[in-house]
């Protein structure tokens, strides 16, 4: 038996949406993290819960990138593809690297499934797979054999087959099986029969790798080196929930979260519903509008009020968000973006709700908008959103997306004690109180909550006098209030940190991105910079107000490339704001950027920039 050391591996598990591919991927990711690798994951599944077995549209996939060095993305293309059925092979084979490794569950390659996948002949036999290292394993049969004598029904036995695949890859990558066996027992503690069966099948898969002579190599990906400290593995939606709880604590307030079920935001509600002993109250509202309404009501009462949704739900909340703008109440609105418009691509990622966030309400209703760049970053963004909302008395939109919501990474645990507090103080002094009297620095009005004697007042959606808060339709007053609401959002710039810039402050190409594309963009820039190319990458956390640091550098580059998973929403804003001829790198496929795509796009612009330099030089010569 040979042991080969690899720096990094990208593996993808594919099968029916009922085959347990998400579980298999998640468990293998845990094992990689446990072994000290840096990891990045990309779950990619259909909206249907149990799509018809064997269908192309029902294929569920989970990609894991694990490495002995720092990584930012789940990898462009899998080195290893584990296909549990023909449909999975059909839809994913094109992504596998040439000479990649393919593990195929031959038991599922029966006539009916081949037909469903649109195969005229069996790809295992017709030479389709000639360029790959193919391991044909009848996982169906081996699973049933492993469970001979078990009391489970054949259907129940069949469900354990993903654990065979998991056991096999555990062996291939030299992972210790004990931890996994423990986890399976824990997970199925309430159904020990299933737990036993899964462990049996997992072991069978592991031993198959060991004994079957087809697998002659064990691959080892040595541990990566990290900054010292405590770590945990975390998804974006887990981290955002933690950030809200911590944010409310730092504000010295109780958290109230109202939501309505929607993919891919629902799991935030699930997490927070378990945090009741922190005083966190969750409210599953009757609809999206009610969730936003309840959040406003809770904010009026003095809670840290949060609601979350995805694009379609945010559209429904729009009017109530405008009420929040008008009444200047602190609410945090999370948008876990997915592909749109309408129902769009519920389980796929996209960054196409930026325009909606910036402009998607009636009237002049500017709101602060920030976006998280990675699963772990959602934690800090949530804390920041709570801070800004309460400090400036304004609803804040925090953008995440399906990719970072479900994706996971090793996350250095924050030192809570070192995080600055921003305790909320409610005004209680009834002397000369005016509803819209403002803090001179932040322009925030005082947060006065019901229950405070002598400060009884009325707020509402009708335009109000800029001082007293009484109804006012006066022309100059409306213009004044409109400007002050906008100015208040702009003032947030004074609380925004340094621009996240990699590379020099001037040069050939400036790559600008925001949100969940961070990993691919940063990796592309770094690899080009390592080749001596003049490329910098600015990643925006704040979209409204725009990061002040950007204005200082954006004109220092020959070419500005704005990379987004939409048709150019940030690009439009930047062109308007800076009169810069920004070029778009856009992808609207429900998938994240690949590093190679970004590299290719920048190389093209470097070429243009070079020509520009030449022509400028020629021009200069001519002038001389």
């Amino acid at each position: 038996m040979e042991t080969k050391h690899l720096d990094r591996v990208v593996i993808r598990f594919v099968g029916d949406s009922g085959d347990g591919m998400q579980l298999t991927g998640t468990e293998f990711a845990k094992a990689a993290a446990e072994a000290g690798n840096d990891i990045s994951t990309f779950p990619d599944f259909p909206a249907e819960i149990r799509a018809p077995a064997g269908s192309l549209f029902g294929v569920s996939g989970f990609q894991l990138h694990f490495s002995s060095s720092e990584i930012h993305t789940p990898g462009d293309a899998p080195d290893v593809l584990v296909a549990m059925n023909p449909a999975g092979l059909k839809t994913n084979l094109k992504d596998l690297v040439d000479t990649g490794t393919l593990i195929v569950n031959t038991g599922a390659f029966i006539e009916a499934n081949l037909k469903k996948a649109g195969y005229k002949s069996n790809p295992l036999e017709d030479g389709t797979l000639a360029k790959y290292k193919v391991h044909a394993v009848d996982i169906n049969h081996l699973t049933m054999t492993a469970l001979e004598g078990s009391e489970l029904s054949n259907k129940e036995k069949g469900r354990a087959k993903n654990f065979f695949a998991l056991g096999l890859v555990f062996w291939m990558y030299g992972r210790e099986p004990e931890g996994e066996i423990r986890r399976i027992h824990q997970q199925f503690a309430k159904k020990p029969g299933y737990g036993e069966a899964n462990v049996k099948v997992f072991k069978a898969g592991y031993h198959y790798g060991e004994t079957a002579e087809v697998f002659q190599t064990v691959y080892k990906v040595p541990p990566a080196t990290f900054k010292p400290g405590m770590y945990r593995n975390i998804t974006g939606n887990e981290a955002i929930a933690l950030g809200l709880v911590v944010g409310a604590d730092l504000a010295g307030k109780k958290l109230f979260y109202a939501g309505y079920p929607i993919t891919p935001a629902s799991s935030i509600l699930h997490s927070l519903a378990k945090y009741k002993n922190f005083g966190t109250m969750t409210f599953q509202a009757e609809d999206e509008i009610a969730a936003m309404g309840a959040a406003l009501g809770a904010a009026f009462g003095g809670s840290i009020a949060v609601t979350a949704s995805s694009g379609p739900g945010i559209a429904l909340k729009g009017e109530a968000m405008g009420l929040g703008v008008m009444t200047e109440l602190p609410v945090v609105i999370l948008n876990i973006q997915r592909g749109g418009p309408s129902t769009g691509l519920p389980t796929k990622t996209e960054q196409s709700d930026l325009s909606q966030s910036l402009f998607g309400r009636n009237g002049e209703s500017p709101l602060p908008v920030l976006a998280a760049k990675s699963p772990g970053d959602t934690f800090y963004c949530a804390v920041e959103a709570v801070k800004i909302a309460t400090r400036y008395m304004v609803p804040v939109i925090l953008l995440s997306d399906g990719y970072i919501a479900n994706g996971s990474e090793p996350w250095p645990l924050p030192n809570l004690a070192a995080m600055p507090r921003f305790d909320v103080v409610h005004r209680t002094d009834p002397q000369s109180y005016f509803v819209y009297e403002r803090d001179p620095k932040t322009l925030a009005r005082a947060w006065v909550v019901p229950g405070t004697p002598g400060l009884e007042h009325r707020i509402g959606g009708i335009e109000k006098d800029a001082l007293t808060g009484n109804i006012s339709y006066a022309p100059e007053n409306h213009e004044k209030q409109t400007h002050v609401r906008a100015e208040k959002v702009q003032r947030i710039a004074q609380d925004i940190g340094e621009l996240d810039l990699s590379g020099a402050e001037s040069g050939e190409v400036l790559l600008i991105g925001w949100g969940g594309t961070y990993g691919a963009l940063r990796q592309a820039q770094q690899s080009l910079a390592a080749q001596g190319k003049s490329v910098s990458h600015a990643h925006l956390r704040w979209l409204s107000p725009l990061e002040p640091g950007l204005a200082k550098i954006i004109h220092n580059f020959k070419r500005v490339v704005v990379a987004e998973l939409n048709t150019g929403q940030l690009r439009m804003v930047l062109r308007a704001q800076f009169l810069v001829d920004a070029i778009g790198l856009n992808k609207i496929q429900g998938l994240p950027f690949k590093v190679a795509e970004v590299v290719a796009a920048i190389e093209k612009e470097l070429g243009v920039a070079a020509t520009k330099t030449t022509s400028a030089a020629t021009q200069a010569q001519a002038n001389a």
Binding site: A290, A294, G451
Partner: protein, 341 residues
């Protein structure tokens, strides 16, 4: 409810400094005055009282109350009030809405606030018309209502607000006319003391767009109302007529001879929901309209249950420990050498 210290208040103490902007003769004036007078008599704490409304003529109400107030958006008042009540259960939260606001655009929030038994006092001003948008027919308008949007007469069947409230699970359901200060005052007082979702239909006159729509009902001596009195028979028209249940549970009107009320329905507020639903079906022109408290029952409120779950979690798990929460799941340490330990 916050009655620990009963304050001496006058109606004036509950009037805000804002000019009331309703049309002259609007039924809302009478309702506002009765609410202010009743709450003053009850000695409420102004700082613990919040009026929340949606959009429409009635929804301007909070601006005129010298309490906390929130004039929100069309139909959403019950949702906003729910968020406030569940997080601040010690506050008295009143919802002011109308037939368009509460039953059309906001119908969904209405039914869910009631089914949850949120401790909200919901006053629905029913004038069978959209006033603020200039007179379109509403979900409670009678079939055939001619309005700018229905020049040939409306064709959709009107909604019965009381039936909706009962069907949704309200635990206190009542009805009064805008000008009947005595009845409205007594209902408001009992509503104030009730713990749970209150729904009061106030028959309100819009003198501009639907003048006199309730005239037939308000004319009590003519036998257009049944005053509901606990333990008393359903009689009307000066005690000369009564209501009993005929075969197939069909209500019938019978003459009351020599004060003999035997066989008539006897009112019980805490009767079966079946009886309350039957009362709700007594509508013009075939029957006099029941006025008063149609139904009430006790049920734990949503905010009590929500708080109980939190208390239970704290009792079982102890108060939340953030560090412990952060360190839950798969946690590992990376040592000074940069590798996992």
């Amino acid at each position: 409810m916050t009655e620990a210290v009963k304050l001496k208040l006058s109606k004036k103490d509950l009037e805000s400094d804002q000019d009331v902007r309703w049309c002259p003769g609007c039924g809302d004036y009478a309702i506002l005055a009765t609410v202010q007078r009743t709450l003053a008599q009850l000695g409420i704490r102004r700082e613990n009282t919040v009026f929340i409304s949606g959009i429409g003529c009635s929804s301007r109400f909070p601006y005129y109350m010298n309490t906390y107030g929130f004039h929100t958006i069309h139909g959403r008042a019950p949702a906003i009030a729910s968020g406030l009540k569940v997080t601040r259960p010690e506050l008295d939260v009143w919802v002011i809405t109308g037939d368009g606001d509460g039953l059309s655009i906001g119908g969904n929030h209405m039914i869910h606030a009631l089914r949850r038994n949120m401790d909200l006092k919901i006053l629905l001003f029913n004038n069978q018309i959209y006033g603020l948008t200039k007179g379109q027919y509403s979900p409670t308008s009678a079939v055939g209502t001619r309005a700018p949007s229905t020049p040939s007469g409306s064709i959709d069947h009107p909604l019965n607000p009381i039936s909706l409230a009962l069907g949704s699970g309200a635990t206190f359901v009542a009805r009064a006319a805008d000008t009947d200060a005595k009845l409205m005052g007594s209902i408001l007082e009992q509503a104030y003391r009730h713990k749970g979702a209150v729904f009061i239909e106030l028959l309100q006159n819009c003198p501009v767009f639907n003048d006199g729509v309730w005239e037939g009902v308000k004319d009590d001596p003519a036998g257009k109302q049944v005053h509901l009195v606990e333990g008393k028979s359903l009689v009307f028209a000066g005690g000369t007529k009564g209501i009993r249940l005929g075969a197939g549970m069909v209500p019938e009107i019978v003459d009351v001879v020599d004060g003999d009320t035997s066989g008539l329905l006897v009112h019980t507020e805490k009767g079966s929901p079946l009886y309350a639903h039957l009362l709700a079906q007594l509508v013009q022109p075939d029957f006099p309209m029941p006025m008063g408290i149609l139904y009430r029952t006790e049920r734990t409120t949503y905010e009590q249950l929500a708080q109980a779950q939190i208390d239970d979690a704290v009792a079982k798990q102890g108060p939340g420990d953030l560090t412990k929460l952060m360190y839950s799941g798969m946690v590992w340490e990376v040592g000074a050498d940069g590798t996992r330990h």
